[in-house]
């Protein structure tokens, strides 16, 4: 048994190295992903199955019901924030998700293939200004 113990001690160092490396990687990822997302978004892009379903202006308080063959999600916009009010998906991850408001944030409902992404620029704005 003693040889096994020695082996365990030498591998433990490598294990801890792996642990520290992955903790550092996740730390770096948190910094990289967290940095650019403190600007209020302009609209929420709702896509179902990769295709655009709706654009919700964050300045206007609205409720929309997204119903597809997979199920229904009720999306609520108020005070520049978006959240999923209710959904009939099995995991309820989208409903439990905190409200999103900053550029680049998103809520994903995997069972319904629904993605809500906050975007900062209104693509229509360029045309509106040039007119």
């Amino acid at each position: 048994m003693s040889s096994k113990k020695e082996k365990n001690n030498s591998t433990l160092k490598n294990d801890l190295f792996i642990l520290i490396v992955f903790l550092m990687i996740s730390g770096c990822l948190f910094i990289v992903f967290g940095r650019s997302s403190k600007e209020d978004g302009a609209y929420a892009l709702v896509t179902v199955n990769g295709e655009e379903y709706a654009r919700l202006d964050l300045d206007k308080d609205t409720d929309i019901i997204v119903s597809t063959d997979k199920g229904t999600n009720t999306i609520h916009v108020s005070g520049g924030e978006v959240y999923v009010d209710s959904a009939d998906c099995p995991d309820q991850i989208c409903v439990n998700h905190v409200a999103v408001r900053y550029d680049g944030e998103s809520i994903v409902c995997l069972p319904h293939k629904l993605v809500i992404e906050i975007c900062s620029e209104k693509e229509g704005d360029v045309d509106a200004v040039s007119q």
């Binding site: 096994k4 113990k5 365990n8 591998t11 433990l12 490598n14 294990d15 190295f17 792996i18 642990l19 992955f22 903790l23 990687i25 996740s26 990822l29 948190f30 990289v32 992903f33 967290g34 896509t47 199955n49 990769g50 099995p90 995991d91 991850i93 439990n96 998700h97 905190v98 680049g104 944030e105 998103s106 994903v108 995997l110 069972p111 293939k113 629904l114 993605v115 992404e117």
Partner: protein, 170 residues
């Protein structure tokens, strides 16, 4: 050398089936126990991965092919019992990637079950994230990347600590 190999993996087909069936049953019980643990983190795919303990320990005692079959059987059965069809797809993607990574990590012989399990945990979550991106046809799920790497590291460490203890007692 590891004399227990003679006991735990008999060459006979009956022994092979018996060990495999027993370990699938153990893994399914772990899957069931896991459904009893409330783990309310609003991140898709975040869970403890207790059943991975069987895959992890198996890698150190059994032939890789047998461990792979046990894992696939466990994922499909637990998917039908405790999940949905999509659960099976996510678990299969995560399971196969983490199995490949853990097998390579184990073969290097420089890691104990703890290190192998951390790698497995992280890459399991990566596999699920890739499938999530394919399902919604968007890169949006990658916002969860930092959380999934961190959670994979933590859950992998916990399972790995148990795996290390199991390994040193078998």
């Amino acid at each position: 050398m590891r004399s227990h190999n003679d006991i735990i993996s008999p060459k006979s087909p009956a022994g092979y089936v018996a060990i495999s069936g027993f370990l699938v049953a153990v893994a399914l019980i772990f899957s069931y126990i896991e459904t009893l643990i409330p783990f309310a983190i609003p991140i898709p795919g975040a869970k403890l991965g207790l059943a991975n303990l069987v895959t992890l320990t198996g890698l150190f005692f059994l032939a890789p092919g047998q461990v792979f079959i046990i894992m696939i059987a466990r994922i499909i059965l637990s998917g039908f019992m405790f999940g949905t069809f999509s659960t099976i797809i996510y678990s299969l993607a995560g399971g196969i990637i983490s199995f490949a990574v853990m097998l390579i990590a184990k073969k290097t012989k420089i890691l104990s079950p703890l290190g192998v399990s951390i790698l497995g945990g992280v890459f399991h979550n990566m596999g699920q994230l890739i499938v999530a991106c394919l399902v919604v046809k968007s890169y949006a799920p990658t916002v969860y990347l930092p959380y999934l790497v961190l959670l994979g590291t933590i859950t992998g460490s916990l399972i790995g600590l148990i795996g290390r203890t199991v390994d040193s007692h078998l």
